[in-house]
Symmetry: C2
Subunit: 228 residues, 2 copies
């Protein structure tokens, strides 16, 4: 085949296909040949659109980060928005986790930090700026950004429930407290979602305690939660 009338490829098509491939088969399955195959072209054609494989990886990562909603941090400076930081962090954490959990194989790459990727830097800028606007000292705002990333990336890296074999014989005798661990996999979604939400609420409660000390207010009356 010679030069087609219209390009068969584009950066966007390539990145989208690469993300699909990584999601389906892992980072190691992302080779130029394999990706080209999925796109119906031959290997070297990709090099007309991307200089190196690393550039491709960067593009995929930043696409994922671009799916995270950061709009909630824009309004925290407004008067009376002083309590908004908690709701903003909560909503952001859920959006962040949803974006990452949709592409778990990308998390180890993404968790290395923003590097020079625009969407990742925009995200960091919005979070830090929002927290400072809300009254957090800069040092604490940095820490909150970091600890939130720790929690969210950790939760998206791998399912807790799916990590346990569903064969009861694995646990019998040897691990007395795990006698029902073989059932975890059957409730993966509920357990992972529940653990994330429980951890997020605990984390935010802890931060709110610090915030109330910071501004010299009474600690908030914690909302009653459901026992389990």
């Amino acid at each position: 085949m010679a030069r087609p009338r219209r390009p068969l490829l584009s950066r966007e098509r390539i990145v989208a296909a690469a993300l699909l491939l990584v999601d389906a088969e892992g980072l190691d399955a992302l080779s130029t040949r394999r990706l080209a195959g999925e796109l119906g072209v031959s290997g070297p054609s990709l090099y007309n659109h991307l200089a190196t494989k690393e550039e491709l990886l960067d593009a995929i990562v930043d696409t994922v980060v671009g799916e995270v909603d950061i709009s909630m941090f824009a309004t925290l400076a407004a008067p009376g928005g002083g309590v908004g930081w908690r709701a903003a962090l909560h909503a952001w954490a859920h959006s962040y986790r949803a974006a990452l959990a949709a592409h778990p194989n990308m998390v180890p790459v993404l968790a290395q930090g923003p590097g020079h990727r625009p969407n990742a830097l925009r995200l960091a800028d919005a979070v830090f700026g929002g927290l400072v606007d809300a009254g957090w000292p800069r040092g604490q705002a940095t820490r909150i950004g970091a600890l939130m990333r720790y929690f969210v990336t950790g939760s998206a890296l791998g399912s807790f429930a799916r990590g346990f074999p569903d064969d009861a014989r694995v646990y019998a005798g040897r691990y007395p407290h795990l006698s029902e661990a073989h059932l975890l996999a059957d409730h993966q979604r509920a357990i992972d979602d529940g653990a994330f939400e429980a951890g997020l609420e605990a984390l935010l409660d802890g931060l709110e305690l610090r915030y109330s000390r910071l501004v010299g207010a009474r600690p908030p009356a914690a909302a009653p939660g459901s026992a389990d």
Copy 2:
């Protein structure tokens, strides 16, 4: 070289060398040929001690997990040990993070769950058992195990501070709130350690709030913390 008088290799030597290699150059650098080179033998010799590469990887992972101290969960059932769960989780989290942060390239593998690895299953058994002994309902104990893993693995996956380019020009103009982000890398240890400790304390405060509601006690008076 024929059969040596004494074996040149052993499972332990191989695993130790493999861990060194992964720590120094990443998971992709771990090939049978390369590893054999480090050990001063030729490639196929490894197969006298390990059936497959996957078996090797499993052994490395469980070695790392085996470095985590879980002894603090053994005594939580004792009368009056009812408040010990917080201290136990705190000490465990620090030990857990130290073990993982020493081998960050292994974290994505390890975060997939215990699988059939003995040390990982022992760890899960100890944590869950300890929390139940301390009075947590089983469902909540599961969630706490999960959310702690999220936080610790996330914190060990990659440095927050090192993720930001140290070139101030990256941020100039485009990311107004990150005008000092180029300094983060210079204080990597302090920032990452500080964020981990802050997050851990917030998390434990939040859990203690829930625990106090659970047992019908007054919420704990939070210890005064240092502002920043």
